[in-house]
Symmetry: C2
Subunit: 194 residues, 2 copies
């Protein structure tokens, strides 16, 4: 236990860095957000950040994961009605993509994963694939319950559900409302129903 | 006509800049591509570039529009069979998103439009909206011909057709093959058919 005070200091620094990042992501355009600014706000040296994270994008991703403002959570409700549960998923996705702080996080990650293959792989493994696995679990239960076609392709089904919303957002096409989420769901369910 | 030689010089510089950009986009990671490097390759001064374009992203967009390697062209074929024509659209989209140079252009634009609202607006007006208008025209003809439901929402239909492919690409989920394009089409047509 000799290193306990150092560990506590580390923990405090880590928390300060992630809090500073979460604050700054809402204040500064992402291109102007620097590791120096995060370090200054957190009251640590830049080297402390680079000791734990390889890049600005990696710190931002960690802050996003801890901020509770990431995209829809990992567990999907199971009310027994697949339309109800997918409606919550799609509306939650619209909410995450339009709420200012979570949108700022997601735009930042969208920029980073186009350019940083290592971070893109981490993003997929720690966030995207677990999210998709949670949706797959819920779809499988709906097939079991006879609500969806038994020959459903899970990957394609998830792409049809989330792709339209995600694409309007990433291309800046607007129109991301709960009503739009419901329209995507209604159309997609016509393809997925038993 | 006193300014004709100057106009010719301008035209040569412009072509040299766009050619240099198209070459460099395939050679250099986008974050490392600079206006200086484009100017050097084109044999012009940096100020010549900034006289015509406000930013690196704006030059890259112009080069993309002129390189013929942008996403699917603006005119959609009309063979009389909507499935055939949408298959060409979706497979063309997969091809544009996976062919190295056009993918490099599209990743660059994807990064820029998250961060540059003015360029995002130009991108929408000069590329996205005309592309979507061309698809809308083809869908309207298919409704007229009784191939698609008359109450079809064009915007939503386009999102369902192109969103899954676009999203797999922007999230780096892979699997972008002609077979995947055909699977998206088959599923979506089930929702859109009359």
């Amino acid at each position: 236990m000799a290193d306990a005070p150092a560990t506590r200091r580390s923990h405090r620094s880590r928390t300060a860095i992630l809090t500073a990042t979460t604050e700054l992501i809402g204040e500064v355009p992402y291109a102007k957000l620097t590791v120096e600014a995060i370090a200054a706000r957190a009251g640590v040296g830049k080297q402390t950040i680079y000791r734990w994270w390889p890049s600005k994008g990696a710190v931002v991703f960690e802050a996003m994961l801890e901020s509770d403002t990431g995209p829809e959570g990992l567990a999907l409700p199971d009310t027994g009605d697949i339309a109800t549960d997918l409606r919550a998923l799609l509306r939650g996705s619209v909410a995450a993509l339009t709420e200012p702080r979570s949108e700022a996080f997601l735009r930042a990650m969208s920029v980073e994963i186009q350019q940083d293959a290592e971070l893109a792989a981490t993003y997929r493994e720690r966030l995207l694939l677990p999210q998709r696995a949670a949706v797959t679990t819920r779809l499988a239960a709906a097939i079991e319950a006879g609500e969806l076609r038994p020959d459903l392709d899970f990957e394609l089904a998830i792409d049809l559900l989330l792709g339209p919303i995600q694409t309007r957002w990433s291309l800046g096409l607007g129109g991301l409302t709960p009503a739009y989420a419901d329209a995507v769901l209604a159309a997609t369910l016509r393809c997925l129903r038993a």
